[in-house]
Symmetry: D2
Subunit: 398 residues, 4 copies
Amino acid sequence: MGINEPLNRKLRMALVGGGQGSFIGRVHSIAACLDNRAELVAGALSSNPERAKASAPDYGIAESRAYTSYQEMLDSELALPEDQRIDFVSIATPNHVHFEVAEAAVKAGFNVVCDKPMTYDLAQAESLLETVKNSDVVFALSHNYTGYPLVRQVREMVTSGELGEINAVRAQYIQGWLRTSLEDEDQKQAAWRTDPKRSGAAGAFGDIATHAYNLGRYMTGLLPDQVSCHLKAFVPGRQLDDYGTAVIRYENGALGTVTASQISHGRENDLEIEIDGTKGSLRWRQENPNELIYRQNGKAHQIITRDPNASFMNPMGAGACRIPAGHPEAFFEAFANLYVAAFDDMAKRASGQPIERHDTVYTNCYDGVEGMYFIQQCVASSNENAAWLPLKHEAARP
Amino acid sequence: MGINEPLNRKLRMALVGGGQGSFIGRVHSIAACLDNRAELVAGALSSNPERAKASAPDYGIAESRAYTSYQEMLDSELALPEDQRIDFVSIATPNHVHFEVAEAAVKAGFNVVCDKPMTYDLAQAESLLETVKNSDVVFALSHNYTGYPLVRQVREMVTSGELGEINAVRAQYIQGWLRTSLEDEDQKQAAWRTDPKRSGAAGAFGDIATHAYNLGRYMTGLLPDQVSCHLKAFVPGRQLDDYGTAVIRYENGALGTVTASQISHGRENDLEIEIDGTKGSLRWRQENPNELIYRQNGKAHQIITRDPNASFMNPMGAGACRIPAGHPEAFFEAFANLYVAAFDDMAKRASGQPIERHDTVYTNCYDGVEGMYFIQQCVASSNENAAWLPLKHEAARP
Amino acid sequence: MGINEPLNRKLRMALVGGGQGSFIGRVHSIAACLDNRAELVAGALSSNPERAKASAPDYGIAESRAYTSYQEMLDSELALPEDQRIDFVSIATPNHVHFEVAEAAVKAGFNVVCDKPMTYDLAQAESLLETVKNSDVVFALSHNYTGYPLVRQVREMVTSGELGEINAVRAQYIQGWLRTSLEDEDQKQAAWRTDPKRSGAAGAFGDIATHAYNLGRYMTGLLPDQVSCHLKAFVPGRQLDDYGTAVIRYENGALGTVTASQISHGRENDLEIEIDGTKGSLRWRQENPNELIYRQNGKAHQIITRDPNASFMNPMGAGACRIPAGHPEAFFEAFANLYVAAFDDMAKRASGQPIERHDTVYTNCYDGVEGMYFIQQCVASSNENAAWLPLKHEAARP
Amino acid sequence: MGINEPLNRKLRMALVGGGQGSFIGRVHSIAACLDNRAELVAGALSSNPERAKASAPDYGIAESRAYTSYQEMLDSELALPEDQRIDFVSIATPNHVHFEVAEAAVKAGFNVVCDKPMTYDLAQAESLLETVKNSDVVFALSHNYTGYPLVRQVREMVTSGELGEINAVRAQYIQGWLRTSLEDEDQKQAAWRTDPKRSGAAGAFGDIATHAYNLGRYMTGLLPDQVSCHLKAFVPGRQLDDYGTAVIRYENGALGTVTASQISHGRENDLEIEIDGTKGSLRWRQENPNELIYRQNGKAHQIITRDPNASFMNPMGAGACRIPAGHPEAFFEAFANLYVAAFDDMAKRASGQPIERHDTVYTNCYDGVEGMYFIQQCVASSNENAAWLPLKHEAARP
């Protein structure tokens, strides 16, 4: 395959956020460029103009395209000739800024790759979805765990019926880094993620439970019906939840659980999911992502390793691998796979072809709305003594 | 230590249930005799008199003491001289028979080791507790997983404050053996365990969720406050739940989850528990019982192996080991540890010393009541759309 | 199955060694009696008469049969009526005493279960083998790891040709307990095991490499041809090896490696073996004995769990299980399986039937000779700069 | 840090080899560019001129710099102005071509990153080392596993004395892909790797045992003294070894073992190493590279996870991480770390600063000579019945 066929050139990337001290901005730039299908050429790297400028050299961004605001960036890039202008904008700012940047970028006609949760609240998300629908841009949301080859493998195993009817989905995402009041110690990440003004209505549930929930949705395609949720802030003084558990009823009768913690000592990014189907069961864990445990009664347990050449891998799984089994691929490669899938659509679009909007290989704007709805209903349920609240949203049915 | 000091002799065991085709009867006899502190001398091995007789030789029970009913057994043994008479009765029958056997044995003055769940329903359990309280016998309930050395280790780690305040307990017990309608295929175990008349109000929740719940209680001592539960029978035609999840609020504000499944392909006896305290977090899994993962922020993860000679083991943990680290101990040894703890009390009692009644090293009649209450409230909650129901029971406070 | 059919009674056991402070004596008594097919009735528990007497109550041995020497024991037991007399003698003394006790017991007509290494040196072993051959007793050697169900599973997988031709066997047994000069700190186990007068010509290689070597022999049946070995005593002042590695050429061209260490910090009883056949490869590890990894190119890796009811288990594997998968069985149960196999032959013999002598399910006197030859040749090779020395012994071909 | 300080610009990369069908060429280009410190601008991608041209677009190499031979490439690049000219050449051809390309590139004044084994034979390697010594270029050899953060962590743990004196190193690299005669099935990789004319004197030992050996050298710094080796070709008709085991005596008295297999069913790239020091022992495995097991007698086992922010990580280990613990880094990131270390020296050199030659963070030309010497002596030893041959080489002492 050539680079970004049929476009046959690298895509030009701009980054919003990601200035000095950021973690996820660097991840976006590495992931986007990993397969040599994009290059980072512009950025509005910080809301602080000086830091925005100072951060550019590290990214190899020329001074002329190191903008001091996203508005300036969009305006300036639009003024450039088409063959120099950026193709897409990656948004790696705190949550409360996503909406305005994304909306402006989409309206300016740029493709967008946006961090999750997509927006500050559901209203913004629904509004943004409408904007995207009315545009012809590609909009990808970085539920990056969906880029792991074995996650894609599972998706196709379910779709193809290999697991039978899905009865149960158990997902948990366990961390320990907010065990103490880091937000009181001037830790930048902790500060905004525990601040309702910047993070949104939920803490752990907005930050990581959404990943766990999305992972189950992405793998199984089960449509949610209702949720009952229980959130807690165990660390004294904390304004947003640092622990919670949600029970989900799916439309087909399946039961789901999503548990998220940021107060579990020593736990890192322990996202784990188990799926029970009538024909087989699966277990996958992000910290050891090259193994998928597949079990069927009466057979020895199987460890499916990420192996692009193996007949036990399906096209979605194998297609997301870069190297043979035994040489592990990990976080950056999975993140890059999300970009790769988005690039496929961006290249199509740039060459005048129509693009997919729903159920894309990459998580998208519809997933973003679902995620915000999940957060909203979990918070509401928790506030109403874990009442059962609806979890159906039309975004799940385009 | 001598055998059953200060009694200085083996204890004489009788077994009710455990006839041909039974699994757990054999386990009781091996576990009870493993340390040479008891010998099996009598039995009422089946409700079918012929099978009761025929099963005796395998256990090495003399024909004269192979009784055809528990009533006959209790009467005959009482008629024997004290120095030949049985010391205790182990009950390994289907659930609905536990109560009558246990009550009769206690009233006859025999110590009892009873399978869980303790009785058919809560009323029986409360009644039995009263009977036991008014007796001077030892009553142990076979929540056998509490006999694992590292489970005991955890109990003392919590008690001693090593983990700080407990915030969360996540327990699950996942099996796959009832994925299909085994009960329609004349499988004896499946038949009674899915039959409300013999198993009680719950299926998976009575059989295995009670273990998971009890394990959390045993390890942490947290007092439960409320429960919200969701039960399902996924296999068509099944009368009792084969899957369910419960959320528990503890009095101290901690959150718990208990999930049980019997419909997860290929899963065996996957009882796993995670505990989050303010000072450390733990993970233990029954299928790999000689390892306990202990994590604290800022430190490398620790694998505590069952090691009686190690300074990182506490007395409760070390005291439950028979051999040095690296030679695994497993299911039978854990089960035997429950017996060992009960024997300590039986020997005390036989020598005229007072015995403990509550918070014993072995799980006891109070735990049995709590278990039956848990089942009752889970079923009720599930029937009321997962309503929050009380989970406080006075049995937790003697 | 009845108890010890066709004999239909428990076998009577005597224990030599195992006095206070012993580890392995207790293991023998628990393992032998675990299935209720034997009872411990007599003992010569220590070479120190007082300790021999004092140790008896813990084992439930009556004072009258608590002998002060093995000679006294054999004489006295022979003087008893046949229906009271012991059936077998278990030898759990330091290595240098094995020979005299075993020879005397065999000559007295008693069956023997002897700790490994079988004797102090090869000459004793060969002599003992002749004595056993000329007797009609059962002689079992406690290479206890061969009792694990999945070890037996492997043996039949190889025998049946499921793995094809065997090309390679890699075994290692890694411990850390002799990292420091424990022998200078009055630790009894360390003292005799590092003393050439009591342990024999080798330290780690006599104590644990023999297990690793035997495990490969037991699993594959490959006949050894030559060995090149390198032994070291890393701890200053130690007289016997605490580390070593041997390369083995098998007759069929396969290559083997055996590595043993007692100086690897924190390692417990990490006996691990990997086998490569032309049709499949295996990995098994004693510290996690309920899992066997089975791999074949082009297929997902398989985890064979100890599961008596599974069609993927063969009769030898399944027959060594007591309980269904997911409830782990471990060290004691494996040790007991060795006894069970020996009991089968003892019962046959007691009822006048002929018994097997070679390639028994339990490891036997021939294995003992092979083990002593392995030790001798390893030490000799190491002394000759790791020269290749023969490893063929006629004991491998009865 | 700026990009390639003090040079402050991206380095320009050329790739030799890596044409269509290649695996490792793509790896080099991704790894080199991952951190945005280099860009691939030129290539001689195949010895077949048509394929060389056709492969260029995939790499984003302009047609004008898609050369049809490395000679043409070196000449043409030298003719370019300095600020366009390539900075370094990455060599990803079959082994027998390494030498001529590397020598020419070095003589032309270009830095080199060369695949291992460095050359076809030792003579070439020694010659190349002289050439490099007499140049001022940076020469890195892609023993890529040394780029894993936890491998670097181990190196510093040893250097700093944390493990005490090293007694033993056990390394193995187990694969299964050459279990059958793939070379007869027109599989390109298999064809050249099993062909003595292109691969060199050894098969598995040249391809993967060198990695295992190098890993031990890199981690411990132990100087080798002698080797005894046993090689086999188990697959009928194969000309080079597909299995082998070597025992190594180190100068300090430590013992090492290196085992390599390409005929172990289902094994992928199972490179594993265990190190025993007087103060602690370690275990690391490439397929699960984010965990390092650290054990010390008397303490719970420790799992050191790759965590740049943890105090238990040393500067070398932490410095090789890109993201916090729990988000796994893997093969590409490790490979990129090798490039990063080489870039540091290239940038120094380009700015006129002197560069390191020996004991660099990246594996270098000295390591390459040692590797070729290891291969030569292993083959020779195997041919002489596993005789002990010297393994000291002056390259280990610059």
